[in-house]
């Protein structure tokens, strides 16, 4: 009996017991669909984080005051909120000190109430330098960013995020309008393109002013040169670690502290990615474990049904043997039957998984990305489960003595 013949016989056997076969396949189907969706969710979440980080600039380093001393999150350098200054930014931007750093944008932020006419809106006001636009990889929808001259002259100008502009001016064109920030009237000279919201902040809801304007007109407290964060853009993604070293050394030198007691922390988007990924991975492994168990149960279902099938068809087996079927032909017949059950279940599971990947994001607001390799892998797993589940029943059928099989009622 050749393979095609065997496959046809297996298909006939499956089709002649439709209800039972479909219930058996259901077990595999659910398992495969669960595995695919878990993988898809994990991949989707990772892709989302990666996209967010790419959006923010992948060769970005963030210097914040204070230092994390351990993974438990205890911070050293108490009261060091003002340890970073615009002078640090100037030092780091120097080609001599740090050749791998392309641009540095010092940032000082605070929550302020903005007013345009009678409309109020509280948002994050950011004081920074013209390099911010490039470092944060943003662009303008309209107007322009403030210039170096405006930075040096503490000009009362502001660039608004798209959300902020909409909140303050509604549908009207915000460009050229004025907005009151902490009592200072500023002219809106530009609107940012949308960037979407990251995990922590809404990148579209902020107002940017020159750093000097911020310290002289917006901020309530003293230190004119103090900044809260330095954004560093490395010359390229490859030179990120070099830039990290240079920034660390330069800041240690200018602050006069040793590497053992730093008063600042430098983090990269890469480290954020690692954190996000490892959290996702834990969840994915957990869910995948549950999915794998459901697959295992599906496989046991196949084995169970095959055992029942062997017992039920004992006379048929005896007859086939009397007609000249060798033990290996019988074994092959049952193995093919079991693997066909597995494969059909897997195929339906893949279809359900792919449909789920289309439907699920509407309910979860979480993207589901199923890689092609997962689809092929799922089918392979289903086939292997079928074969493994079929081995024992098939060899039992093959070992049956023809007379015993024929005699049984």
């Amino acid at each position: 009996m050749n393979w095609r013949e065997t496959f046809r016989t297996a298909l006939e056997a499956i089709l002649s017991r439709r209800m039972r076969s479909s219930l058996t396949m259901l077990g595999i189907l659910i398992g495969i669909a669960a595995v695919m969706l878990t993988v898809g969710l994990g991949q989707g979440a990772q892709a989302q984080v990666r996209a967010q980080i790419n959006q923010l600039g992948s060769n970005l380093l963030i210097v914040s005051p204070g230092s994390t001393t351990s993974s438990s999150g205890i911070r050293g350098g108490r009261g060091s909120a003002s340890t970073l200054t615009t002078r640090d930014a100037t030092a780091l931007a120097s080609r001599v000190v740090a050749p791998d750093i392309a641009k540095v944008a010092p940032v000082v932020t605070g929550s302020q109430s903005l007013a345009a006419g009678t409309t109020n809106w509280t948002t994050n006001v950011v004081g920074t330098t013209p390099d911010w636009l490039q470092v944060r990889a943003r662009s303008l929808a309209e107007g322009r960013f403030f210039s170096l001259a405006e930075l040096n002259s503490s000009a009362p100008v502001a660039v608004l995020g798209s959300t902020t502009a909409t909140e303050l001016f509604g549908g009207r064109d915000a460009l050229g309008q004025t907005v009151d920030i902490n009592g200072t009237t500023m002219t809106v000279i530009g609107i940012l393109n949308t960037a979407g919201s990251s995990t922590t902040t809404d990148e579209d809801d902020q107002a940017l002013v020159p750093q000097t304007t911020y310290s002289s007109r917006v901020a309530s407290s003293g230190n004119a040169a103090g900044v809260s964060t330095l954004y560093i853009e490395a010359a390229s993604t490859d030179s990120l670690s070099a830039a990290y070293q240079e920034a660390t050394n330069a800041l240690l030198a200018t602050h006069g502290v040793t590497a053992a007691t730093p008063d600042f922390t430098i983090s990269s988007q890469q480290s954020l990615l690692t954190t996000a990924t490892s959290t996702d991975r834990t969840l994915t492994v957990l869910l995948a474990g549950i999915a794998a168990i459901s697959l295992l149960v599906g496989g046991i279902g196949v084995m169970n049904i095959m055992l029942v099938s062997v017992t039920e068809r004992i006379r048929e087996i005896g007859l086939r043997k009397a007609m000249g079927a060798t033990p290996s032909a019988i074994r092959r017949q049952f193995l093919v039957e079991a693997s066909t059950l597995g494969l059909c279940g897997g195929l339906l599971g893949v279809i359900l998984g792919l449909v789920g990947a289309q439907v699920l994001p509407h309910f979860l607001s979480q993207p589901v990305t199923i890689p092609a390799i997962a689809t092929i892998g799922a089918l392979g797993i289903a086939l292997i489960i079928g074969i493994v589940a079929g081995v024992y029943p098939a060899s039992r059928a093959a070992r049956l003595a023809p007379i015993d099989a024929l005699r049984s009622e």
Partner: protein, 183 residues
Amino acid sequence: MHILGCLDVPTTGSYDLAGEDVSTMSEAALANVRNRQIGFVFQQFNLLPSLPAWRNVELPLCYTGMARAERKERAINALERVGLGDRIEHRPGELSGGQQQRVAVARALVTDPALILADEPTGNLDSHSSADVLALFTELHDQGRTIVLITHERDVAESAQRIVRILDGQVDSALAMPAGTVR
């Protein structure tokens, strides 16, 4: 009977079939011998209920590696020989007992075996169908085929050339009629 059919091997002694000692053969080799040399007819017919008559007859050929078209042709020929040429697509459930047994005879014939073993082939049939099947056997025998038939009924046995009476597992008498063939 099971030993004659190579379904079982003798514990002691030996059994030569068509010049070959089959008592020492492996399972797979025995399966081959059954496939090529022996045709079985059972009391219970043992047809597969889900397959049409011709697929049942084709069954032994499936294990010979023969091409599909040739198998079907030979199966239909065999069915025609037993007078069921118009029943090839009928399933066993749609046939009478006598017809089912004739399908089984066709299945035994289809590989053109040296020996046909019939284990109480008329045990489940009414006298009319029994006569049909016996007539078929007689016809096959006249064409030069060896048939071993087991029966409890004297009048069925009477149609044979040679009768071996077995009583409580012992050969009681062997009434030889002209030409004894197998053993």
